[in-house]
């Protein structure tokens, strides 16, 4: 049964008519064309699909859109403001924290959620915050450096 779901995505209020059983990840990518959020494992293990809902990092592959009614959602596309990248995005580029780039949107969103609550995290806190994000290229060192000094 199609339902109207109202939510705020990247600061814009949107109402979408959709099956409540559709995954948030599919709504973002296929209906809203926000393809920055990636699909990796689809079972909550790799973190490639991470977005921020109401200030918390979550796996968009394990959330049905019905659960998102009234939520404020931020995706990787929402970090850029007025054509300028977020300082976290710039830091990832400066520190060489991107190789193939597939994990990067999810990694940045986990880091973004951490910095919302804790602007000066320790290295251990950074490691804990990105524990749900797999990167098979960088070895994590540059990623941690990028999050430390945005």
């Amino acid at each position: 049964m199609i339902r109207r779901i109202n939510l705020t995505i990247n600061g814009d209020k949107v109402g979408i008519d959709v099956q409540p059983s559709m995954r948030l990840l599919d709504v973002l990518r296929e209906i809203l064309n926000l393809t920055g959020t990636k699909e990796g494992c689809s079972i909550g293990e790799c973190g490639a699909c991470t977005v921020v809902i109401n200030g918390n990092a979550v796996n968009s592959c394990l959330i049905v859109i019905g659960q998102c009614e009234g939520s404020e959602i931020t995706t990787i596309e929402g970090l850029e403001k007025n054509g300028e990248l977020n300082k976290l995005q710039k830091s990832f580029m400066e520190k060489g924290a991107v190789q193939c780039g597939f994990c990067t949107p999810g990694m940045i969103m986990s880091a973004y959620a951490l910095l919302l609550k804790n602007p000066n995290p320790t290295e251990v806190e950074i490691q804990e915050a990105i524990a749900g994000n797999l990167c098979r290229c960088t070895g994590y060192k540059q990623i941690i450096e990028a999050i430390k000094s945005p």
Binding site: S21, G44, A57, V58, N59, V64, G66, A131, G132
Partner: protein, 325 residues
């Protein structure tokens, strides 16, 4: 995945009404991190999904020294893991919560869902018609059983995956269950069943029953508690074996201790005889090794999981040494 109607009650009474009319065909849904996986894999085929998250008054953590701790079923694992009161008074819950899954999953997963999650057995999760899904055999018994149980098994050999349940068992917590007929409060140990009593369910919950609250008695002065979890992948994973302990000691001698185990049985497990035998024991490595050398010597290990016996003994020793020294 079966297409389903998505129902969003705003009160427990409304939820109970839906469940009392069609509880068997209705899946109770909270964070959904486990339930959605089961729906996607067609292990769950309910045509109705009842989202509890719009119900007011089920997401809370309240503590006072007289009444103890009350946690609503919809409190997230993140909220539990970051609660200062829980960290100060119930370290075992704090440690267990922060051992669960990844930050993303802890932000969605709820206490009620964690207690009621389904087993991780690969035969149950994949396309095998096993006993837990109503089939005729447990494929783990003669198949791949590295992560399966060493006690309490038969005819199914799952382990219960909840970390919170182990911590709460060590604390002798109580569970408030809501249904259309009212509420009842039971010890957490009575929430779970062994496969010999019900091979298709891990809990006694009947269709229409909802876990509403967890209650833990006030902390006794001087008590220490903790949780240790061995995982195959250290960053985050389900427990291969875990141990939780609540201990009261004086000058390094145990007055009393309550230990619970995860990853070894189809339900969160305790050994009352072990708790008793540790009373009055001086905590040091030699004494503990002596007391623990026969722990689970009666285990019925399978072809690939005998390693869990020394692992559970060593983790227990390590935890008790940490808590007292």
């Amino acid at each position: 995945m079966t297409d389903f109607d998505y129902i969003q009650p705003t009160t427990l009474q409304e939820a109970s009404k839906v469940l009392s009319s069609d509880g068997i065909n209705t899946l109770i849904y909270a964070g959904g991190t486990d339930a959605l996986s089961l729906l996607k894999n067609d292990i769950y085929k309910q045509h109705k999904v009842l989202n509890l998250k719009k119900i007011e008054g089920l997401n809370y953590i309240s503590f006072d020294k007289t009444n103890g701790l009350r946690i609503g079923a919809l409190a997230t694992i993140s909220e539990i893991g970051s609660s200062p009161e829980i960290k100060e008074n119930y370290n075992i819950i704090h440690e267990a919560a922060n051992e669960i899954a990844s930050p993303q999953l802890r932000n969605m997963g709820t206490l009620g869902g964690n207690l009621c999650q389904r087993p991780r057995c690969w035969y149950y999760r994949e396309d095998f018609d096993c006993i837990r899904k109503g089939g005729g055999e447990c494929f783990a018994y003669e198949g791949r059983n590295k992560f399966h149980c060493i006690v309490g098994g038969g005819p199914c050999y799952i382990v219960h995956p909840s970390d919170m349940a182990v911590a709460l068992l060590a604390l002798d917590a109580k569970v408030v269950i809501h249904s259309n007929n009212g509420e009842r409060t039971i010890p957490i140990n009575d929430l779970y069943v062994l496969p010999q009593d019900d091979p298709m369910n891990e809990t006694i919950l009947k269709p229409g029953e909802i876990v509403k609250e967890i209650q833990v008695q006030p902390p006794v002065k001087g008590i220490k508690s903790g949780y240790v979890k061995f995982k195959e992948r250290d960053t985050w994973d389900f427990a291969v074996v875990s141990v939780g302990a609540v201990i009261n000691s004086t000058n390094g001698i145990i007055n009393n201790v309550n230990i619970a185990f995860g990853g070894i049985a189809p339900k969160p497990w305790s050994e009352k005889s072990l708790n008793k035998s540790l009373s009055s024991v001086r905590i040091n490595e030699n004494e503990l090794e002596g007391k623990l050398k026969n722990l689970f010597s009666n285990a019925e290990t399978l072809s690939e999981n005998a390693y869990k016996v020394p692992l559970v003994r060593n983790l227990t020793k390590r935890l008790l040494l940490r808590l007292v020294q």
